[in-house]
């Protein structure tokens, strides 16, 4: 008996809807097996991982806080990937945005004005976009692979931030800890509702995702992105430039990653420190794919991936397992999403060995 993948005549609508859910179920099953193997009761572990965080207000706020950067970055990446440009360096652009946005509250800390926060956000977007401009330039004009260049720039950004908070930007009153001075109150993103910590960043993320969805769904720009992503030659025939698209998609995703970076620093941390992200820029890649590269899908996927962060922290506390379990779940999820997506284009067929001579020969 063999398993054959057979190409469908048309992509299956059923499986394009079902595939993310199928992937979720398979992730949960594989996760249960993993918990059982390390000697924990899989049912209660999965319960505290996936269900408990949804049951109280505090952790719902935590989910919103963690979903905001994931949705912002993921929405930008989904556009970028749709256009067949593979920015995997959103983590670096996140950090670059955080640094650029922090110029105002760190360097000009004596300046107090309601303009501080909007300026920070704008600087954050510019910082992320400029950092993404490096792989954009290299791809558009030097024909380099943006996957490699954008990824390598992540490590440069991380080390630059590390140097910055240990060196020139280190706070004079932090007892030599590697942090910048605390942001002034007007440099802090306000909270969304009074019941908890979730801040305006979440709203920004939702607005950005919806705006991008409208662009993709209704405008010529969105059409241009779709066409160039599927066939550069057809795009050229339509009068679209793939070079300009490299710039557009990388600058857009970089700007949104930068906005996420400064929102995180301003709304959650309140200062710069060596580590400001638990890998949001990388997790957002999973978010983009789990959300079917659609900005609206990214909202749902971002909320779910945020749950894995919060759930990971929960099982770390209740079952004393390593917080690496979060990464395992995220990895499993990406693996299953990508494999379940195969079912959209292909169907699985079991072929049993047949009897007639000629067709047996045919099965070789």
């Amino acid at each position: 008996m063999r398993i054959e993948l057979e190409k469908r005549a048309n992509p299956s609508t059923l499986f394009s809807i079902l595939s993310p859910f199928l992937a979720l179920v398979l992730t949960v099953i594989a996760g249960g097996i993993m918990f059982a193997l390390i000697g924990k009761d899989p049912v209660s572990a999965l319960y505290s991982f996936f269900v408990e965080p949804l049951l109280d207000v505090w952790s719902l706020h935590e989910i919103a806080i963690k979903a905001a950067p994931l949705i912002l970055i993921g929405a930008g990446l989904s556009i970028c990937y749709r256009s067949n440009n593979w920015n995997v360096g959103a983590e670096g652009q996140f950090i670059a945005g955080a640094i650029a946005g922090s110029i105002v509250p760190v360097v000009f800390h004596d300046w107090h004005s309601p303009l501080v926060l909007p300026l920070m956000l704008i600087f954050g977007m510019i910082g992320g976009a400029l950092y993404a401009a490096v792989p954009a330039f290299l791809k558009a004009h030097m024909n380099t692979n943006e996957i490699l260049t954008s990824l390598m720039l992540v490590y440069i950004a991380q080390l630059f931030l590390d140097w910055l908070v240990r060196g020139p930007w280190r706070s004079p009153d932090a007892y030599n800890f590697p942090v910048t001075r605390d942001f002034a109150p007007e440099a802090i993103l306000p909270e969304l509702v009074s019941s908890g910590r979730a801040n305006l960043g979440f709203l920004l993320a939702i607005v950005a995702a919806v705006a991008l969805w409208i662009m993709m769904r209704y405008t010529l720009k969105g059409f241009e992105i779709t066409v160039l992503g599927q066939s550069e030659r057809a795009g050229r025939f339509a009068g679209f430039s793939s070079k300009r698209m490299i710039w557009f998609s990388l600058l857009l995703s970089g700007a949104l990653a930068g906005l996420a970076g400064i929102s995180e620093v301003s709304g959650v941390i309140g200062k710069l420190q060596p580590i400001i992200s638990p890998g949001y820029g990388f997790t957002a890649i999973i978010v983009a794919f789990l959300g079917r590269l659609s900005p609206l899908g990214v909202i749902a996927a971002g909320l779910f991936l945020a749950l894995t962060y919060v759930g990971g922290e929960a099982v770390q506390l209740t079952l004393s397992v390593s917080d690496k379990v979060t990464r395992v779940f995220q990895g499993l999820l990406l693996f299953f999403v990508l494999s379940c997506d195969t079912l959209i284009q292909y169907k699985i067929r079991l072929v049993f060995s047949r009897l007639t001579r000629s067709s047996e020969g045919g099965a070789q």
């Binding site: 057979e6 190409k7 469908r8 005549a9 048309n10 209704y218 405008t219 010529l220 720009k221 059409f223 779709t226 066409v227 599927q230 066939s231 030659r233 057809a234 050229r236 025939f237 339509a238 009068g239 007639t356 001579r357 000629s358 067709s359 047996e360 020969g361 045919g362 099965a363 070789q364």
Partner: protein
Amino acid sequence: MSDVGASGGSPLLAVRSLTKLFGSFAACNGIDLDIQPGETHALLGENGAGKSTLVKMLFGVLAPTSGEILWKGEPVRIASPGAARRLGIGMVFQHFSLFEALTVAENIALSLPPGISLSRVADEAATLSRAYGLPLDPKAHVADLSVGERQRIEIVRALLQNPELIILDEPTSVLTPQEADRLFETLAKLKAEGRSVLYISHRLEEVQRICDRATVLRHGKVTGACDPRRETPASLARMMVGSDVAAVSAAGTTVKGDVLLEANHLNAAARTPFAVSLKDICLKVRAGEVLAIAGVAGNGQGELFDALSGEFPVSDARAVSIRGKAAGNLGITARRLMGAGFVPEERHGHAAVPALPLSDNLVLARNQSDRKTFLAGGILGIIRNAVVRIASRRISETMDVRKSGEDPAAGSLSGGNLQKYIVGRELDRQPAVLIVNQPTWGVDAGAASRIRQALVDLAKAGSAVLVISQDLDEIFEVATEIAVISDGRLSNAYPAQDMTREKIGLLMGGMHGSETSPEAAHAH
């Protein structure tokens, strides 16, 4: 092989109810076929009739879903091309599998068992090629050879295996008429030696000329078996198509208008190592004219289209003029706005995005030329889907595009129907200039005649039409003027009624203009 004596009258190769399914689609459906020793057997059919699938099964490239293949009366399973060669079946594919950077002898040695010295291969190849009238230099690099010479390598490669049956898939589609004649002489020699030939083609004239018997396929089924010499081209066409094909009515108008499209010493460097550079191309197309550019594939047709359409503009603005205005350095959008329309050769991924619906593929070509109609919201550029769908339906109706559903994905249409849509998309604008590369490549006969008629009608209505085509029948059907492209150079244009296949063949071989062919120039 020789121990299975061919019993008198039994076929060399017999195929019994051979079927190949791709999913639920039957590419070949219960095919029966007999090939006698020493006969030249034609396999006729339109593109998509299942000819290539059938021979791929015979050569072990594809596995049949059901049915039997009998070789000299014995049922066999052909699991791989190697197994086919061991049985005594050789094949020359439509698309060659040669390494351009290697020499002829090296390419031949690659298909032989290892351990044979290169000089022996070269000697044998040289002997064989002389014996069959296929002149070849074993030391030449493939990259320097013409398409006809490359095909000879493939034939010699097949002959070295000493096959009893040779399968040729559309061998003349890339040859000049003279090269084709030489191929036919070779086939006659093979036949005289008692070898069988399975000859796949959709060109009726050559099948009548060289084949003893013909099997006709349509939609994966055998629709007829006949002696092609006793049939007329019309009766063969009917078997292939299933109905009579409308003849294209005579081209052009007698009154010629202004020059609407002009190339003036157009030069373009090759963009890739295997592309052709354009050298000093001059052409003029007047209102009411159809200028057809003949040529063997790979002589700069695609590059000429790219330069004329503005997909790859040139630096000299005056190298291309559209309606009297210099356009050489402008992109495709600007040229569309000047009144030109374009139909590239490749449908999937160039003229259309297969995964997108037809209406989106309309926006693809006309997003700027019909900006006022199709877009709203000024700088936001919101696509007016309702308007686009109405226009798309109008095009489908005018060109008789048959499709499943209201607005299906372009990739789900057959080649002919998609091509009708792509041509109709431009005609719907009534362009002053239309440039078409291979308008009916891989298109069924019904759609082809419709498309050709539409091109002729557009010229009659006062537009300038430039058709780049490899198909001489098509060229004689639509053209008022004919020029020939060879190695990136364009010959002078001659009135279509003064042109013959022989003259085109000479020009295809690179005899250009007055300096090499004075009598041709006088004919102008």
